[in-house]
């Protein structure tokens, strides 16, 4: 067990698919490399196979024949979870109700036969690290949701795992707490430097925590990339729409321009196709005077959100366009506005199957 703080195992899954006994295909065979110390987020809607992939890495599910799981190049496929040295945080936290907070945190060390003194020291270290001082002797049913989440994390990290696996660890919490703990979790994961695989359906969590994000759809990997790559250069309509807000425009192409009802919009690069599916993020559209603009439309509605305002514009594209304008712009429903979009902000997507 060489895992100490600041080191994590490199993980490779090779052609891992999963078909359940009733014949449902939860995961198409997938290959994925996760480097030591990296935080990788598996992101997708429910039923996309992300939890199945996590459970295969954990050793709670066996991949279909031919699939392999490697830690630091060593084949772990047939090694049961209890001998993989992985820390795991469950969505339900799965804290042991018959043990106190410190007994929960120290359980993995007790199983490993770590002497009482050393164990107490390690538990104290984690209690401090996860900010739960004073709760050591509480029963689990005396803790709030956020406290349970911290105990679950402390318990998983206590054994100095080579890999930390988190299955929607923040989903059970209310929104405000989730935001706060997300930032805390991020700092903690960076400080620990353990290879981390994090499953979520929440794109904000994925963006903030992930070094890389794996977007999954219907048991397949849709795209792998850094949060920036996933956001700015989605490779499919599914990814574009799942991450952030996106205007998807289907339009004919003419001399490097989208031909739209409200005018023409230049696209970056040259595309020699008769038609295209393009994505434009709402915040990349600037609202200007209607007269000189190459593209214009009529404001349908304005919603003031605080830090910005969201306009819905009709007549510019063949569908309603969502525009995020600064909160200082004067805009009223019914007005005609010009829309200025940099050609680089127009992202062409492969046509739908």
């Amino acid at each position: 067990m060489s895992a100490s703080a600041g080191h994590g195992a490199a993980v490779r899954i090779e052609a891992c698919g999963k078909t359940f006994a009733d014949g449902t295909r939860a995961l198409e065979p997938a290959t994925l490399d996760i480097s030591s110390g990296e935080t990788l987020v598996l992101l997708g809607p429910s039923g996309c196979g992300k939890t199945t992939m996590l459970r295969i890495i954990a050793g709670l599910e066996l991949p279909d024949a031919g699939g392999k799981v490697l830690f630091d190049g060593k084949d772990m496929t047939s090694v049961p979870i209890e001998r993989r040295n992985v820390g795991m945080v469950f969505q339900s936290y799965a804290l042991f109700p018959n043990m106190s907070v410190s007994d929960n945190i120290g359980y993995g060390l007790k199983i490993r036969g770590v002497p009482d003194k050393e164990r107490a020291a390690r538990v104290a270290e984690l209690v401090a690290l996860t900010n739960i001082s004073g709760l050591e002797n509480r029963r689990i049913d005396q803790l709030s949701g956020g406290q349970r989440q911290r105990v679950a994390l402390a318990r998983a990290v206590a054994i100095r795992p080579g890999i930390l696996l988190l299955d929607e660890p923040l989903t059970a919490l209310d929104a405000a707490l989730r935001d706060r703990l997300r930032g805390e979790l991020n700092r903690l994961l960076r400080a620990l430097g353990i290879t981390t695989i994090y499953v979520t359906h929440d794109q904000a969590e994925a963006m903030e925590l992930g070094d890389r994000i794996v977007v999954m759809q219907k048991g397949k990997i849709a795209q792998i990339g850094s949060p920036r790559e996933i956001y700015f250069t989605p490779q499919s309509r599914f990814v574009a729409e799942f991450i952030g807000a996106a205007n998807i425009i289907e339009s004919p192409l003419e001399n490097g321009h989208l031909v739209l009802p409200g005018g023409r919009q230049a696209i970056g690069g040259d595309a020699n196709m008769p038609a295209a599916v393009a994505m434009i993020r709402p915040e990349t559209i600037r609202v200007i005077e209607a007269g000189s603009a190459p593209l214009s439309g009529i404001i349908d509605s304005v919603s003031f959100i605080g830090d910005r305002q969201r306009l819905v514009v009709s007549g510019a594209s063949n569908r309603l366009l969502t525009v995020d304008a600064p909160n200082t712009v004067q805009a009223n429903a019914g007005e005609r506005v010009g829309l200025l979009i940099s050609p680089d902000a127009v992202r062409l997507l492969p046509p739908e199957d």
Partner: protein
């Protein structure tokens, strides 16, 4: 009539039934127990008279052993049945719960068919070892009968508890390095403890008081319900049988209360 007096009127039938069938006979029983030649000391005779004391110990030990063996068998079987799906599972569960439909007399009869003088076990042991093994008419036969009686009750409770068990708890323990045995010891069995106490208490109480099975097997088995019966019908010793009845009730109640507080204190001790 006001709303309040209407409510009181509705409670009247309950009060009458409670008084007639519960409070009055109970009070009469307690009084009768003290009306023997020894007066109130008649109660002490349960403990001082060697025959009564031996019977009392016999009964408690039999009930305790029945409870423990039932819990062990029912836990292993219940866990397996709840966690595995196989052809014939539903039929097996139905068969396991079948004894619930039988009164004690029928169960006693079944024990005689199994281990009596013409029983199956006697037949086989005779062929194999040349000696007839007969234990139906003793406390061992009664033990087998009580097991048969208790297992279905306990197994259903355990299966329900296993179903409610969060599989995540076991997976979490395994991820922390616990072997399958350690998972059972540290996670599964503690989580099932309330079910053990609840179903064990029922098994114990049943084994303390069951009469039909004992009566079918033999009239000279030394258990408390049989003793009460013989004192009452054969010796016409009203006061002793009343005292013994009260004693039986108190012991059963006391052990149930003990089990309940014990399970409560283990939960608290974990904090």
């Amino acid at each position: 009539m006001s709303h309040r007096s209407f409510v009181w009127l509705c409670l009247l039938p309950l009060a009458v039934v409670t008084a007639a069938f519960f409070l009055l006979p109970m009070a009469r029983l307690v009084v009768t127990g003290a009306e023997g030649p020894q007066g109130i000391a008649g109660y002490l005779a349960i403990l001082t008279e060697p025959r009564y004391r031996a019977t009392l110990i016999n009964t408690v030990v039999l009930a305790a052993v029945t409870t423990i063996v039932t819990l062990v068998v029912a836990t292993i079987a219940g866990m397996f049945l709840q966690r595995h799906r196989f052809p014939g599972r539903a039929v097996l569960i139905a068969m396991l719960t079948f004894p619930l439909a039988f009164p004690g007399v029928v169960i006693g009869f079944l024990i005689i068919l199994l281990a009596g003088r013409q029983g199956l076990i006697g037949d086989w042991s005779n062929r194999l070892f040349g000696e007839k093994l007969v234990f139906a008419y003793s406390i061992y036969g009664l033990f087998v009968g009580y097991l048969y009686f208790s297992i279905p009750r306990v197994i259903l409770t355990i299966m329900a508890a296993v179903q409610k068990l969060d599989v995540g708890l076991e997976e979490a323990a395994r991820s922390l390095g616990a072997s399958p045995w350690a998972v059972q010891r540290d996670v599964v069995l503690p989580a099932l403890a309330p079910a053990f106490v609840a179903s064990g208490a029922i098994a114990f109480a049943t084994a303390m008081g069951a009469f039909g099975t004992a009566f079918t097997l033999a009239t000279n088995i030394d258990v408390l319900p049989m003793l009460i019966y013989t004192e009452f019908t054969l010796a016409a010793n009203f006061s002793t049988s009343a005292a013994l009845s009260v004693g039986l009730g108190i012991i059963t109640w006391f052990i149930l209360a003990l089990a309940r507080s014990f399970s409560g204190s283990t939960v608290a001790a974990a904090g």
